[in-house]
């Protein structure tokens, strides 16, 4: 009997146990679990699961970074400046500094309006960028952050990588099923990490960032 772990939330599918609550009898082999089965915790698809191997040490890619001159601030795009200001606004609100929060918010809105011109595209373009993040962006960033022992950066990368996987898995499913994917279902986003949940039974805590679910907001159809 083998075990498979959800790469997003860590839920373990154990062939010996199955998933009786969803009609998967104990002893059901992974390949016999229907393709439309989803992770009971976070809604991820079968493709997002990986087999637990006793010895699953993968070869670590070589780290080769060209040190560039630090000039990062002036290299921020308007979109990034907007995201920075909107996060600083939240940081002020957490300290109940409401005037500062409002001012940062105004800056965020200003730069967002200036950056939105560049945005034409389709869902396909979003998933292409997401795939690229997963294939190279996160791989590279994880190595660099580990090399610098940057705890906070590693944390952000772990959350972001999981959320990116979920978004891409949703985009893949939407491509196949179109609007039926969301038919009679509610759609939620975690206010903290961006985790997206499709379904009716919200997990108690966000499977990615572990915040209690009162901070996971439903996005209604308009």
């Amino acid at each position: 009997m083998r075990k498979y772990t959800c790469s997003i939330c860590g839920y373990v599918y154990d062939e010996a146990i199955g998933d009786p609550a969803r009609g998967i009898a104990p002893g059901t082999k992974w390949e016999d679990v229907p393709e439309d089965w989803h992770c009971p915790l976070c809604g991820a698809t079968k493709a997002d699961f990986a087999e637990d191997k006793i010895n699953n040490k993968s070869a670590t890619p070589e780290l080769s970074i060209v040190e560039n001159e630090a000039n990062s601030m002036s290299e921020l795009s308007f979109g990034e400046v907007s995201a920075l200001c909107s996060n600083l606004s939240k940081g002020c609100a957490k300290q109940y500094r409401l005037e500062e929060a409002e001012l940062f918010n105004q800056l965020a809105e200003f730069y967002k309006a200036k950056s939105s011109i560049a945005g034409a595209g389709q869902l396909k373009d979003i998933s292409t960028l997401g795939e690229r993040d997963l294939a190279s962006g996160y791989v590279q960033a994880n190595l660099i952050a580990a090399d610098a022992s940057d705890r906070g950066a590693l944390r952000a990368l772990v959350w972001g990588e999981k959320v990116t996987r979920i978004l891409n898995s949703i985009l893949r499913r939407y491509e196949k099923q179109q609007d039926t994917l969301l038919e009679n279902k509610h759609l939620y986003v975690c206010d903290i990490c961006g985790f997206v949940y499709i379904g009716d039974k919200l997990p108690d805590i966000c499977p990615v960032c572990k915040v209690p679910n009162e901070k996971i907001t439903e996005i209604k159809r308009r």
Partner: protein, 169 residues
């Protein structure tokens, strides 16, 4: 240092009103009056049965250093998230299909949150930090797009209490 009340946790048990020596806890806004709060007193914090009150320092320590390579790699991922957010916003705005609109809105929010998190970890966690101060000054010192709200940045620099920061960052 002064006390703040998390109104989502406050169960209106009023013990903080009984114990506060200055009456700072008894306000109509639900928030504690910082100007009356005695620096570091914390009697209300220990008294509150709902753990709804905490102390915020007036000054913060210098923030953790970020290496340039960490900054660079986080910001390049952030830029990708910003792009995805912008495409999602475009789809949300231009589609007539309410289901696609809803999905695009979700993608937009989610990518914005990821971008914010990556940028914040590249050295901009604390609003009162040296890096944020430098960032705001740079906005004033460099060319900005038309309609730039200069006075907003100036006001922020004036009220963020940046002089209280340990400058060794």
């Amino acid at each position: 240092m002064h006390a703040i009340r998390n109104i989502n946790l406050c169960t209106k048990d009023c013990l903080c009103l009984y114990v506060c020596p200055t009456g700072a806890t008894d306000t109509e806004t639900g928030q504690i009056d910082a100007s009356r709060c005695l620096d570091g007193c914390r009697i209300c914090i220990d008294a509150c049965p709902s753990h709804a009150i905490s102390l915020i320092p007036a000054a913060f320590p210098a923030q953790q250093r970020k290496t340039d390579t960490v900054k660079k790699t986080l910001l390049s991922l952030a830029e990708s998230k910003v792009k995805q957010e912008q495409i999602a916003a475009y789809i949300e705005k231009n589609t007539d299909n309410p289901v696609l609109k809803q999905l695009a809105q979700v993608l937009c929010i989610s990518n914005q949150l990821m971008a914010e998190d990556l940028i914040r970890e590249s050295g901009y966690m604390l609003p009162q930090s040296q890096n944020v101060q430098d960032f705001l000054k740079l906005l004033l010192d460099t060319d900005q797009p038309e309609g730039f709200p200069k006075e907003v940045v100036e006001r922020l620099l004036a009220i963020l209490n940046l002089e209280n920061l340990d400058q060794t960052e």
